[in-house]
Subunit: 275 residues, 2 copies
């Protein structure tokens, strides 16, 4: 990070006048984990950079954000609830995933202006890649067609699965997402409908069922094939009811925390990209 | 700072969603030392807070700053060159030193809005206090009537010295500052004129002479009385030509770094004050 021989007792070694600034913008902000996790990733890469929380109230967002982006040593922002849709207007260039999903969660400074993209789905795909689990040619069932689900669906579709089935308690929402994916990936076998597991290799949960003290499974199941890979986007608890069931039945499991690590790594790549 | 039992290898322990945010606003920004020093002071006081550099270009200042102050977890700003005069318009309340000097270098969030004050002089007085060197009843000669000099003159005048003499290569500037001090402290013996040392107990340098590789003394002298206390506001080098001469002649010396520490401590008190 810094030259420790230059460090006095009355100084910290993790921020200086040369530190590049990044932020996470949200409301509320106290619960976010990005500051400690992104900053750790910057340190691992020996970058003199820090990501700090930026609490923006909904009524302030439209006037505040364009000005915030004029801070000359601010190089990027993360957007969390409730700003992933609103942040899109701040972009000068839109990445491929964001164009399809219609929302962004990261903004990076480029020579030509601010580039925005969404990395929730990319983080999920990165978690599979790091574990050496193929997505190409596999049959996937995704539960949940909300914000996280949409991003995951787009990222999965980019990996050329054999098929992608979408389920949501709100059938209309699942159908709308299937239509979006079909438009963007015309050759892909996409469908929306009930959560049948018979012909599925990979089951992904992007619903909130099982989060924190919620003991529910996202769908009514009592057993899983050990050949199946089961992913859950939920970070807390680390072992959700769905993952507990999958482990009991001998499935391969991929956790929300792995997706978060994958996403952080890919967003830092994005922040540091040239152009 | 944080509960270390909760710290994972992929997290740092010095920033989180709950961290309160402070900034130093300037142009340029790379050379400032406030981020590492203020953040160390926050840590010493077990405050979950960080001070980061905020590089604002002069053309952006007027539109950006009012918006920046709307960040809900931003609790204070430091202003450095070239913004100490311009920052005054951001205040809802003005502290006593700032009212006389006409500039601020710190802004703190209060229930009633943003309070501004200037601490350069307060830091100098704090350095003397920490060393147990009285200012009350002493005869002081201050060299330099610019920004730092003005703030030091006001803070010194508040300490009831026997007399305060002001010297600047620009005689008009010294006279204007003397008039300001006289208005604010009607009973004090203030004068502006040549730098005579005969009847002086405390010599203070607030000119840039002797900074970095500048080998000049702020005034033409070749010896000092050992009874004299000599202060230099310059931080780099730690031992300026003036302080080297003072040490050779057996004077008590007070360094710019002590003023900086004193100022940081008093500004953090100000940041954390209620009301």
């Amino acid at each position: 990070m810094s030259d420790s021989s230059q460090t006095f007792a009355d100084q910290v070694d993790y921020v200086s006048g040369r530190t590049r600034l990044f932020g996470i913008v949200g409301h509320p902000i106290e619960q976010v984990r990005s500051p400690e996790m992104f900053t750790a990733e910057f340190r691992r890469r020996a970058l003199d950079a820090i990501l700090v929380p930026m609490h923006v109230l909904p009524d302030d967002f439209d006037a505040l954000l364009p000005q915030l982006l004029r801070l000359s040593n601010l190089d990027g922002l993360i957007f969390t609830i409730p700003y992933k849709l609103r942040a899109r207007v701040l972009t000068d260039q839109l990445g491929g995933q964001a164009r399809i999903v219609g929302a962004i969660n990261a903004l990076g400074r480029r020579a030509g202006g601010w580039r925005g993209d969404i990395f929730d789905g990319i983080g999920c795909v990165e978690a599979f890649r790091r574990r050496g689990i193929a997505l190409a040619g596999r049959r996937a069932l995704l539960l949940g067609a909300g914000g996280a689900g949409s991003a995951i669906a787009v990222a999965l579709a980019s990996e050329q699965p054999a098929s992608l089935r979408l389920y949501d308690v709100d059938a209309t929402r699942a159908q709308a997402l299937a239509a979006t994916i079909t438009r963007a990936f015309p050759g892909l076998a996409v469908s929306a409908g009930p959560p049948q597991l018979d012909d599925i290799d990979i089951l992904l949960n992007a619903t909130p069922a099982g989060m924190l003290d919620d003991a529910r499974l996202p769908i009514a199941i009592d057993a899983l094939s050990p050949a199946m890979t089961v992913f859950d986007a939920i970070v807390k608890p680390e072992t959700t009811p769905l993952l507990a069931l999958a482990e009991r039945d001998g499935c391969t499991t991929v956790r929300g925390r792995e997706m978060m690590r994958g996403q952080i790594s890919r967003i830092v790549d994005f922040f540091m990209a040239e152009g």
